[in-house]
């Protein structure tokens, strides 16, 4: 499973460094037993409305796509970034295909356990759209804001 990372506006193949994973349930059941864990695995049906206190010590959070059609983790990623201010790595695991990467990135994912064919060609998917209509967890300026600044400059 090739690991891809996104940073500096570019998707590149990354070398996997060893992570000590713990699931959200295990972590909540016994934090002391998992004091050395570095990555928190959050299932996509977990209630994360009070996850703020849990995530601070982790360098990565792993969110799951059991099937490409199951889009719950998009909302989870945005909440982690925008509501809980998580600044570490958010990694996509499961059905992670080329044509979902752009949406994932916009929601705050920056690492991908790529499960599709042709990982080398996947980078192109990040640059197929020059604009976005709506704000999300990335730094795309929504089109309405670009319109405003253009009108102000004119």
């Amino acid at each position: 499973m090739p690991l891809l990372k996104f940073s500096g506006n570019r998707l590149y193949p990354a070398v996997e460094e060893a992570k000590n994973e713990v699931t959200l349930d295990e972590w909540r059941a016994n934090r002391f037993a998992h004091a050395d864990a570095t990555a928190l695995v959050v299932p996509n049906d977990a209630d994360i409305s009070d996850i703020g206190a849990d995530v601070s010590g982790f360098s990565a959070i792993i969110l799951e796509f059991p099937a490409f059609k199951d889009g719950r983790a998009y909302s989870q990623a945005r909440l982690l970034r925008e509501r809980f201010g998580f600044a570490g790595e958010i990694r996509a695991r499961g059905a992670v295909l080329r044509d979902q990467l752009f949406f994932m990135k916009r929601c705050g994912f920056d690492a991908f356990e790529f499960s599709g064919p042709n990982a080398d060609a996947a980078a192109g998917a990040m640059h197929e759209f020059s604009f976005a209509y709506q704000g999300a967890a990335d730094d795309y300026d929504p089109v309405w804001r670009r319109r405003l600044s253009r009108a102000a400059a004119a």
Binding site: G71, R72, Y74, D99, P117, S130, Q134, W144, R147
Partner: protein, 551 residues
């Protein structure tokens, strides 16, 4: 009408380029059909019984003449010379070749059209009142907000893989012509006691296997917060909607399992935490979009037109058409013209390239260059001078488009059914054709009055049978086509779900059954009572008796 700026144009052009790449990968074998499926489904391309079907978005049902011509040209160039207008104000091509689809989309992009989000589990084309900006009694043009939603929902990164498809309808009138109570979200723009405009937010309506009338979760939402509030609803749904069973995945199931008021609580809580200034549009951007929907330059005319009244006296057929197919306009001296796409024995919603070209030409000359598509699969010329009605009528008649049956028994909604659809139990189109032939006499139809017949070829209810005054549902009984009748449904402001009348009927019996129901109504109606009113007054049992007594 909204016009693209370079941002909108770039988005659509880039989408076509992306899809062209995906089609090339499919044709070269890089993608299997299985891998290609989710990609084409993001772009309105279905694999039907006999061929690919492409669904083109007609945002909130508004078209310019140039767009209508481009749709006609594509029907000629890439299809068999016709296309089909759907109940969601969209258009479908039934026979395009896969290799041609990117070119077809390129042609449409030139007139600011696309197939984005016309399929898949995402936010679909937003629908609206076909009389928007033309009928009396509107708070403002609802299409302003449809366009706001269109932009926000296009390629929404969080809401492109929802549990199920998601449909939003907007109206700004007390008269509901957009069936807002049977949508995932229905928005009704109205004024509060302080005279401010805001939305009633209705969630969880829908048809299909488990029909529901939507639940109002908020009586009044200030307009400027529309997008953040929608974002809150969609997030609750995306996280909590069921994904284990496609039939239980629509938001209506979540709303009903949670309870309407508790669901409202979840939405309000999420909304309270959303950073609204990042989502809601600033006043300048709303004003920019608003400008595009400023009313056209109506002339100052007197309310009545002598020429029009004179022609009505001279030409009986015109008089009937004017009575049935036109509607009052808010500007004095103007009328709204309905074009029926339900000629006797025709296929509901189908139009040939020539018909589309004719409509485009008439709209260009007589209706400020604008055409609308209705959810009842007809077309509308929104702004026609009464002085010109006779000329318009003659031109429509010459094109075979002047059937005077709007709202009558032969103005039938029918889904594509077994003639095209791979999910169908039964055919729908031939039933519609035979009913319309049975009631071919237009004078008789007018005497029967408003009667909405809606036909679906399976429980997915694309033909909206649940909200038909008479609904007809195709069921499969040991490999044979059977039809179940429902009675008393309505998709308008008096929305209700029809009740099943009794045992299923064979395709031979079903047309007789409709006739029996109509006969019973005619014998028992009081005053100007519609079929639906009589049904509600007399009760289901009487009609069931009439339906099954002699059978």
């Amino acid at each position: 009408m909204y016009r693209y700026d370079e941002f909108d144009a770039t988005m659509v052009a880039e989408r076509v380029r992306q899809f062209r790449g995906q089609v090339e990968r499919r044709l070269s074998g890089d993608l299997s059909e299985e891998e290609f499926k989710p990609l084409r489904l993001m772009n309105g391309l279905y694999l039907q019984l006999h061929a690919y079907m492409l669904r083109v978005a007609i945002p909130y049902g508004t078209l310019s003449s140039a767009q209508m011509r481009a749709l006609a040209e594509a029907a000629r160039k890439y299809d068999k010379g016709y296309a089909h207008f759907t109940t969601r104000q969209n258009l479908q091509y039934n026979w395009p070749a896969l290799v041609d689809v990117p070119d077809l989309l390129d042609d449409l992009a030139k007139v600011e059209m696309h197939a984005i989000q016309t399929s898949g589990n995402c936010i679909r084309n937003v629908t609206s009142d076909q009389y928007a900006g033309a009928a009396e009694g509107e708070v403002e043009d609802p299409r302003i907000w449809c366009e706001v939603i269109r932009q926000w929902s296009t390629f929404h990164p969080e809401f492109s893989f929802l549990p199920r498809k998601f449909k939003i309808a907007v109206t700004a009138s007390d008269h509901d012509r957009a069936a807002i109570k049977v949508h995932d979200i229905g928005l009704r723009l109205h004024k509060n006691d302080q005279g401010e405009a805001g939305f009633e937010v209705i969630v969880g309506g829908g048809l299909g296997r488990t029909p529901y009338i939507g639940h109002t979760i908020r009586e009044f939402l200030p307009k400027r917060h529309l997008l953040s509030y929608l974002e809150a609803i969609l997030r609750v749904y995306n996280l909590q909607g069921r994904r284990d069973n496609a039939y239980k995945a629509r938001i209506k199931i979540l709303v009903n399992a949670t309870g309407g008021d508790d669901f409202a609580g979840l939405v309000e809580e999420e909304w309270s935490k959303i950073d609204k200034k990042e989502i809601d549009l600033p006043a300048e951007e709303i004003a920019r979009i608003e400008d595009y929907f400023a009313p056209p330059a109506f002339e100052a005319l007197s309310a009545d037109s002598e020429a029009f009244e004179q022609k009505r006296k001279e030409d009986q057929a015109f008089d009937r058409w004017a009575r049935l197919n036109t509607h009052a306009h808010k500007a004095p001296g103007y009328a709204i013209v309905n074009i029926s796409l339900k000629p006797i024995s025709g296929i509901p919603g189908d139009a040939t390239d020539k018909e589309m070209d004719a409509v485009a030409a008439i709209a260009e000359q007589y209706s400020f260059d604008e055409v609308r598509v209705t959810h009842e699969q007809n077309l509308v010329l929104p702004h026609v001078r009464k002085d010109n009605l006779y000329t318009v009528y003659k031109a429509l008649d010459a094109a075979g488009l002047a059937t005077a049956n709007i709202g009558l028994v032969s103005d039938i909604i029918a889904c594509p059914g077994l003639d095209y659809c791979s999910l169908a139990n039964t055919r729908s189109i031939p039933i519609a054709q035979r009913i319309s032939e049975r009631f071919a006499d237009l004078g008789q139809q007018e005497d029967i009055g408003e009667l909405k017949i809606k036909i679906s070829g399976c429980i997915n209810a694309c033909g909206h049978h649940h909200v038909g005054h008479i609904g007809i549902l195709g069921v499969d009984k040991k490999g044979e086509e059977f039809y179940q009748i429902t009675l008393g449904g309505s998709g308008a402001e008096d929305a209700s779900i029809g009740e099943i009348a009794g045992r299923g009927l064979s395709s031979d019996e079903v047309v007789d059954a409709v006739e029996k129901l109509v006969e019973f109504y005619r014998q028992h109606r009081q005053g100007g009572e519609r079929f639906l009113d009589a049904y509600r007054r007399l009760g289901a049992d009487k009609f069931k008796e009439a339906l099954y007594a002699a059978a």
